[in-house]
């Protein structure tokens, strides 16, 4: 479904440096029982965020008031495992619009692009630099510009460019999804199917 257009995002950052964060951590399976896309943000990182009694765990970054923002800075191999789009719904619903990592799992990255969360892949060195900068100054801001395809640490001006294919870029900028495109190909699809 349509989502907010992505243009230039300037925001503080929530750092989560753990590597290999799988989608079972982002949203555990027992919270996938909804039949509508509603309220998934409440269960984002559920078992890292809350204890068994439902009390917030103070050492988890989402419970640390020092950090906030619309950008999630994540460790290597973020979003591995299950194809559940619910993981990205939870990230979006919580308020993130962009996830930055040196390495994303494939299906997760696709799911992000399909619902309007921008996955930004940066070099491991720049990722390290961003983690250090945000740790030193939690108010440090990052600018993500989809037009120029750049990500910049505003305090130092250090910048890196990132890849996104031109088709997905247009979609993100306009808040379109693939169905709009595919429906225009209906005749070609019907003809293709008839030959199979």
């Amino acid at each position: 479904m349509a989502y907010d257009k992505f243009d230039v995002l300037t925001s503080r950052v929530v750092p989560l440096s753990s590597e290999n964060v799988d989608t079972d951590q982002i949203i555990p399976a027992r919270f996938l029982k909804a039949t509508e896309r509603k309220g998934f943000g409440d269960n984002l990182f559920r078992d890292w965020r809350y204890d068994k009694e439902g009390n917030p765990k103070p050492d988890f970054v989402l419970n640390d008031p020092t950090y906030s923002g619309k950008i999630l800075l994540a460790g290597k191999n973020f979003g591995s495992g299950s194809s559940r789009e619910h993981a990205v719904w939870a990230i979006y619903d919580y308020g993130f619009r962009c996830v930055v990592s040196s390495f994303f799992a494939d299906i997760f990255k696709n799911n992000c692009l399909n619902i309007g969360v921008l996955p930004v892949t940066i070099s491991p060195e720049f990722a390290e630099e961003l983690f250090t900068a945000v740790e030193a100054n939690p108010e440090a801001e990052i600018e993500v510009d989809i037009n120029k395809q750049t990500i910049t640490l505003l305090s130092t001006g250090k910048s890196e460019s990132f890849d996104i294919n031109s088709y997905k870029k247009q979609n993100m900028k306009n808040g379109f999804d693939d169905i709009d495109y595919l429906l225009n190909l209906k005749e070609e699809i019907v003809a293709f199917e008839a030959k199979r």
């Binding site: 479904m1 399976a29 996938l32 509508e36 299950s82 994303f104 799992a105 299906i107 399909n114 693939d178």
Partner: protein, 473 residues
């Protein structure tokens, strides 16, 4: 002529349009759906006023959250019941075949597809489930998709996909006794890591792969996603054709001969190139088990947990966090660790061959007192065969509890949860934190290793027991 890989041949035959510097419009032959990742797709489809374009190309079954006891009764968990009822309602409304609870072909979606002969060589198959890669065992391009893409397939039978890069993993030689296809795939993932396949589609080749049954091939392709690969496939051969012959949806008569003639062309051309190639010797592979919280953290059952030597700070931090969760120390031996639960089942190892191998192993023995042993067949068909072959009796005599088909404790969406802090050796596919229930600790292994653990109550190499048996004889 251009040399093509099997993957290229199938992919290229399904591209309706290529967008310059963008994805391909990719046609999907078969679409499997289940109760968890489909309801929002149906909802959005209707919101936009679209219809399911080719309902006969979609097949449904409830598997992820269903109870594995009392399936003939109303589902107690309200949210699970609502999802299953929603699936029924949506299938009825949109004219989609549903293999419902209690019917002859109910089961885990990746078990029933092949069982019914719906999965056939050369096809493209998707499902809102990452273990869709299972179907690659038949020489298909099969992979998991998100719910937005499920909606795309409903509305247009297509998705937009950039073509992945190609990897070939060749395993030659003979597997040792007590070593199974689960050990092969756990070995590969331990070698190339849980992210080593990201961005690739894998072809598995070599004499060790060729020698495997269809069930064993499915186990390997199933776990392709656990190294980050979108999927993995194996070229079809006589083993494939033999498996498919006579299945409900397999072609019949002349159509069968035509299909087989076509399927035989589905091979990687001599001289075709891959972006990455790996070669392994089957003789180097031993029974494997995982010790950490991603499937790449695996060692030989007879091995030790790796130390932190050579890790950088960030790797070290994640590694120790993972071992802390498991309650293990770097350098410890795996053998002899006490276990609480064993689980045989899932789309990875819930097929009849898996149950047969466990039954053969535990026949005449008793499970250890400290072990709770769950066996969950992948489908009703598997359950029926297990009863007819006397497997269920053997397992029950040994103290295993047989449950009804479903995904069950693999992801613990239903009540089949491993309690917090307890250790489970499991034939499933993921050892993530809390995967089998909040706080649960999962060790992945083959059905044979699980059987050995069930008997001794601790981590045991199945070859120890096989050797004992040989000596007794």
């Amino acid at each position: 002529m251009e040399k093509k890989s099997l993957f290229d041949k199938i992919w290229d035959a399904h591209v309706i349009q290529s967008i310059p510097s963008g994805p391909d419009v990719f046609f999907i032959d078969k679409h499997f759906i289940h109760e968890v990742t489909s309801p929002v797709a149906f909802l959005n489809l209707e919101k936009r006023g679209n219809k399911v374009m080719f309902p006969e190309r979609t097949i449904a079954t409830p598997d992820h959250n269903v109870p594995t006891v009392d399936q003939d009764k109303t589902i107690k968990d309200q949210l699970s019941r609502m999802q299953v009822e929603k699936l029924r309602e949506n299938c009825k409304k949109h004219g989609i075949d549903l293999h419902d609870l209690g019917t002859d072909h109910h089961g885990i979606v990746h078990v029933i597809g092949p069982e019914l002969g719906i999965t056939q060589p050369g096809m493209t198959i998707v499902c809102g489930d990452s273990h869709t890669s299972t179907h690659g065992a038949f020489g298909t391009i099969a992979f998991g998709i998100g719910t937005s893409e499920v909606e795309m397939v409903f509305a247009t039978q297509c998705i937009m996909q950039a073509k992945p890069k190609k990897m070939r993993i060749t395993i030659d030689g003979e597997l040792g006794k007590g070593v199974t296809s689960k050990d092969i795939i756990l070995y590969i993932i331990a070698q190339i890591s849980a992210s080593g396949g990201t961005g690739y589609f894998i072809e598995y080749a070599g004499s060790a792969i060729r020698s495997l049954s269809m069930e064993a091939r499915m186990t390997i392709c199933n776990m392709s996603i656990e190294m980050g690969a979108r999927g993995g496939l194996i070229a079809p051969d006589e083993t494939t054709f033999e498996y498919l012959k006579g299945k409900q949806y397999s072609p019949k008569g002349e159509e069968w001969d035509k299909a087989v003639a076509h399927w035989k062309t589905l091979q990687t051309d001599e001289g075709a190139t891959f972006d990455v190639e790996y070669h392994y010797d089957a003789a180097d592979i031993e029974p494997m088990i995982t010790y950490g919280t991603n499937p790449g953290m695996g060692v030989k059952v007879r091995g030790n947990i790796p130390t932190t030597d050579g890790m950088n700070e960030s790797e070290n931090k994640s590694y120790i966090k993972s071992l802390d969760y498991m309650g293990f120390q770097p350098g410890e031996a795996m053998e002899g660790k006490k276990i609480d639960y064993v689980f045989v089942g899932s789309c990875t190892n819930g097929r009849i061959e898996d149950l047969r191998s466990v039954a053969e192993f535990v026949k005449g023995k008793q499970k250890a007192d400290n072990i709770t042993a769950w066996i969950v067949p992948g489908s009703r068909e598997v359950e029926k065969m297990a009863i007819e072959e006397g497997i269920v009796q053997i397992l029950e005599d040994a103290g295993f509890k047989l449950r009804q088909p479903g995904c069950s404790a693999c992801l613990a969406m239903n009540d089949d949860k491993i309690p917090s802090g307890k250790y489970a050796v499991s034939t499933s596919n993921r050892n993530f934190e809390g995967r089998q229930g909040p706080g649960s600790r999962t060790l992945l292994a083959s059905p044979l290793t699980v059987a050995a653990v069930a008997i001794t109550g601790m981590i045991t190499d199945p070859r120890d027991i096989i050797e004992e048996l040989v000596q007794e004889k």
